[in-house]
Point group: D2
Chain length 427, copies 4
């Protein structure tokens, strides 16, 4: 991990203090349960998450949403701590070692996230998935900590015999989403998204090495699913949020194009690296340390300061997109269930072209259509099991008669169309 | 205001939308009461406050403290709205025009703040006070909005006949601190700092053009004063927060020194400008537009990305300070009421010098002592008046028998000493 | 209204004070908007609601549920105030007179409720519905206030031309349930039941004299429906709550039987009246003032002190039921979707009879089966209309694809079986 | 304990269930840590606390204040649980047995409280202190539970060697006031009274067998003291609350006088007992079981239903006082620091006498003056010790420079004057 000057670091590395409590606006006091966990939090690779907002540009719609992946990771680890304590009380044995490992697994589950993940993955780092990056960084940390993270990595990758520990890290009811749903609703002020995470955690149990919910928790689960849905459409897929992200995608695509054409752009070192190099998955294997080194020194600030500088660049497209991003001048966006008519698109393009006196070949930076997929559901083929008093397990889709389960668990595709705000377009 | 490309801006300027509600985690829904207020919020100069954290590096101690001056300014304006409504109900006439002006005055009261104000004012922009800058920027905006801000500026500068409107903007009980105390305690999670802003606002009244508190609100005021004190020592002057800020001061001092010596450092344009130029108060008059232009394009991100880059610089002092700042490796700090013994300081300097093999002439970057002044009190020579049922006014210091008023309203000076964390120093 | 000594009352009647604010733990400050509203709240008939718990015996399961119908009525009136303000902002004209009337209608909507409504309606006042009683009491108050309640009564009875005002008082989205769902979840501590009443109110609009919800509020409505369902099964129909209510029904049935047989029981005057007289709907017409007089002096306390006394009565059935009620010794209860087998019932009866040495003819006081009907849904044949941006209205059942609407809006019947807790019964 | 029919009770006594969690609106989930604790909560003597409101008639000012001594006792026990866990983490040994005993001691600390304690102690049970009653009842329970409460009683009476356990039950920082301050502010809606009980508990430590607060908790303690003061004057000594209590005292005094004169009044058995008998401290020793039996069957409901009945009595004084109490027609009250002039009193008495045509000899039921003493402070001669990092202990009065300690810890006496609301008195 190159950008961190290790000699410096070793001189003034985080002291092994006794500090064990973190103040969290969501949960109150959070105890750091072990020295290893403390050290991981103090590590530069984790500290960097302080500079990556959990919800990217969502604060353009909900100004409170400034919270970071740093806070989320620690919050999720806290819930893991509570969940393990409660599951133990129900007679399930979980050793101290397993407990710490599960906690570390959730603490590091997002360690591979870069800034504005979705936007960057659609523009300049298309080939690097944050899952791959997390995996690599965890292994690097494991090396640095003499193998103390081996069990955590096993749990993270579902290679450990106690499968339910992995489910606490990653499943329909994992501590990741328990924290992010609650935290995101807290910071956005969308109070309706608040889930009863403490009650759900109290209702968790383990049967046949599987995480299940006790029957009396069924209404809490219903409410959890509906709150999640509300958060998706009211926050994560809020149309103005999408418009902002798309604007960033277009900006970065333009910047990369210009750089590859030899144009000189101001940018920070790490961003420069990814603008100049189209890193492939294979490069990640052959050139790990360089790529990871650059990647972990990239954060929200790099993108924003570069965009701020680009807003003064002579390339009209770059400067306009950048200025709009910085000053929150977002494209107008329409969302609908089916595709837009090519004819209408053509008309809009033509009108924008005329109104702004814009070159035809570059009109796609201003008028464009694409789809969003409510992938959060589609990728989950596991489900939620309800444990009846009789001992029987039943799928939530059958245990609860209230939902059209098809709808709830099916991915949903929507089409959107963006065009400049101030063009006089009737749609 | 140069850095904003106006031609671009005019093409896609913020639409005059009907959007009137902002979700705020602290107060719930906030209504934007007029189009002018909406336009000011949408203005790039105000949007820039999204990139300036209200509490600078405080999130190094309280990770939740990521909220921005943008949120604070809107929150304070919201409280102004409530306060004016309540004061009107008590029979005090406030016109629509005055109401909007007071609201704008509080909305813009911090518009001249740059990133990490305290740290920068002690390192690279020593001669520019945020009060002066606010004043200049307000006048620039007033010009842009054809004089519509004239009354707001009068109120802000206490030049308007209704003095109590100014007191709502700036006094012991202004909406500024009503919001920041509540907001800061919310985001830090220091719930004990929460003040009953709604109750205090309900107790406000105006007598002889003076903002007063009705007698039954006296206990709320006592609690407000004590909560404020708690926030000062538990948050604003938390010793680790001070250590972090001092680290940033030292870093920027070093960077400026190197730049002035001709050393080449990576930095963003705006930061470069202030590293290269020691702008004086006079420059601000003779060269307003250039300086303001640079100033308003400077935000938290500029400092942090530059520091990140400097952590790899060959100057050992710069790189160490920068790496420590970025990775939250903070100096150890001692705070006490009297000065430190020169003899002890000498010993510590000597020990650090040896342990780190550090050049003697540069030891002051690592070991230093200075004072902090609880200036928040000292600059306030106005006080809080209690309105008794009899109609009499009484100073809170007499109305409340509980406090040692001398203590509460006197500024307090403390001495601190910083040295590297891992040096084996017994103090 | 006999039991109130009017001569006394006129001497020291509630002063026409300026007091206009009530502290409410749920909403903070509630303003009393007019003198008439203040006077109604101060009236003995309304003050009596302080002695009637909103949720009867629910505090036997959720100890916090001690809140009263007094608090609920004022809370609902507060929401009415907010809703009317918001609807006005959307351009709908509502006069001051209409506004006050709608507020009074909701304030008094439950004025005919007695103590432990469900239990008493199934035992000693079977023929008196609280709707009829509310209507009569409102008319009595209207007379006392010289007809000033006429419009309120019209709105309450849906006889006023502006139908949507009635819908604010009584419909799927009325302020009654907005308040009670939020308040009940607050006081029970079942935080998952908390609904976003402020957001829903902000989304209300009126189209063709009909209360509708704007399209962007659809997820809030979904969450409202699911939170309501959760509250039903987790609070209102919690099996232990049902067991407690059933115990009270059995106790009052026994008491009435004994009184009618000439047995002498201690009881308060008002309770005595209803134990001795089986008041019919017709009596209510012919003997209004006596019956209402007795009815409004009956509250929770009358039932509880009488039961306390009965726990020492020589009738073994009465004393046991009463002692169990007072000391929270609740019957064991089984709930299921279909009826219980007669054979099992017989066995249980037989076993209880033997274990407790209980006379066969009285076994039905200890072992019994009955049904509960989720009537809250069944009585509602109105529905929720969503207002799309296009101006079209759509039923929530079609606008939201998530629910099995049949389930959500259909009444649901369940069977339960009770038997003494400590009998050694395997079921 | 006579009124509980033990034969009945033994048949259907509370089952030894596994139920271990109580939903509390203030703290969320509360775990019942042992079977003995569960049994004590289920005991009729404890269940009776459900019928005694924590704050008596305070709900006449703050309608939300309906919470009971049942809730408070369980809440305080919950805080004891947390405090013990935290103190253990700091290395202090506390055995399981001691932990359970301390928890039981706080659970039962108010077990001797009757309804409207202050009012009854000034009218009909002047000789019985709730401390004496608590002690007697605890010993009766100890007998019933075969001595299992012996250690709890020792701790309660400060006879156990580990003195700090007693301090957790009763001292300036005991769990009693930690709970009641927080709970009372929650239910009254006086949010400013909320104390940071979780933070204070985290700051507790034990030095030399003494409960102390770590230095960094000093601002929390300051805020605790000031919040307590606020609660005293804004809630506990709110003048309308005092007026209501005084009204009840006058009513009960009148009732007792009439009963002793041979007048027949409706009342419940237990109330009758105390109206007819002036029980002395000596009687409590010679006739324990009868008196305690009556006492524990007396609760809020007895007073209220009797008053309701008395409002129709032919004695004009009784009926007026009773009607006013029931219907919340409270006397007007003036509070001041010094005594009232006898001359003014005379005038007021004379005027009331004339206006109401009231017999001179009974004027003291309507016009009276008395004092209140902020005794909550005066009885506490223990203080709060701050533990500095150096290990030194310092009294809060010296450690905190902010307060006039004399004021804060000195009892405060105020004079009040009551007269009928509607008499046309200018004062």
């Amino acid at each position: 991990m190159k950008p961190i000057d290790n000699s410096t670091f070793s001189i003034l590395s985080p002291v092994k203090s006794k500090l064990k409590i973190i103040n969290d606006p969501v949960y109150g006091f959070i105890k750091i349960p072990s020295e290893l966990v403390y050290d991981l939090i103090a590590h530069p690779v984790f500290q960097r998450l302080r500079r990556i907002k959990q919800l990217g540009l969502t604060h353009y719609v909900y100004p409170g949403a400034m919270h970071t992946r740093f806070q989320h990771a620690i919050g999720a680890a806290h819930l893991m701590d509570l969940a393990i304590q409660d599951i133990r009380l129900k007679g399930m044995e979980i050793t101290e070692e397993e407990s710490e490992a599960a906690l570390i697994a959730i603490l590091l589950h997002d360690i591979g996230h870069g800034p504005f993940s979705h936007a960057l993955e659609e523009s300049i780092i298309e080939k690097l998935s944050h899952e791959d990056l997390s995996d690599i960084i965890m292994h690097m940390l494991n090396k640095e900590y003499d193998g103390k993270l081996t069990l955590a990595i096993k749990i993270f990758n579902n290679k450990y015999k106690k499968n339910f520990l992995h489910q606490l890290v990653s499943s329909q009811l994992d501590m990741d989403r328990m924290d992010y749903l609650r935290r995101d609703s807290f910071y956005t002020g969308v109070t309706e998204g608040i889930i009863g995470s403490d009650r759900i955690i109290k209702m968790l149990n383990v049967v046949d090495d599987q995480l299940v919910v006790e029957a009396k928790g069924i209404y809490s689960i219903e409410k959890f699913l509906i709150a999640r849905r509300l958060m998706y459409w009211q926050v994560y897929f809020h149309k103005t949020v999408i418009a902002a992200e798309i604007l960033m995608v277009k900006l970065l695509q333009r910047a990369k194009k210009l750089v590859l054409e030899g144009e000189k752009l101001f940018s920070t070192h790490a961003l420069q690296y990814f603008l100049e190099n189209s890193v492939s998955k294979n490069d990640l294997i052959t050139n790990t340390s360089e790529i990871i080194g650059q990647f972990i020194s990239l954060d929200d600030d790099d993108i924003m300061v570069s965009a701020k500088s680009w807003s003064l660049h002579h390339d009209r497209i770059l400067s306009m997109l950048a200025g709009n991003l910085i000053n929150r001048v977002l494209p107008k966006i329409k969302i609908q269930k089916g595709p837009f008519y090519e004819k209408s698109l053509k008309q809009i393009r033509e009108q924008v072209r005329k109104e702004l006196n814009w070159p035809e070949k570059d009109i796609d930076y201003l008028v464009f259509t694409d789809t969003i997929l409510n992938y959060a559901y589609s990728e989950e083929n596991d489900t939620i099991k309800i444990l009846h008093n009789t001992g029987e397990l039943e799928d939530i889709s059958r245990a609860s008669d209230i939902f059209n389960v098809d709808v709830l668990f099916k991915s949903e595709k929507k089409y959107f169309l963006c065009y400049p705000k101030n063009c006089n377009i009737m749609y």
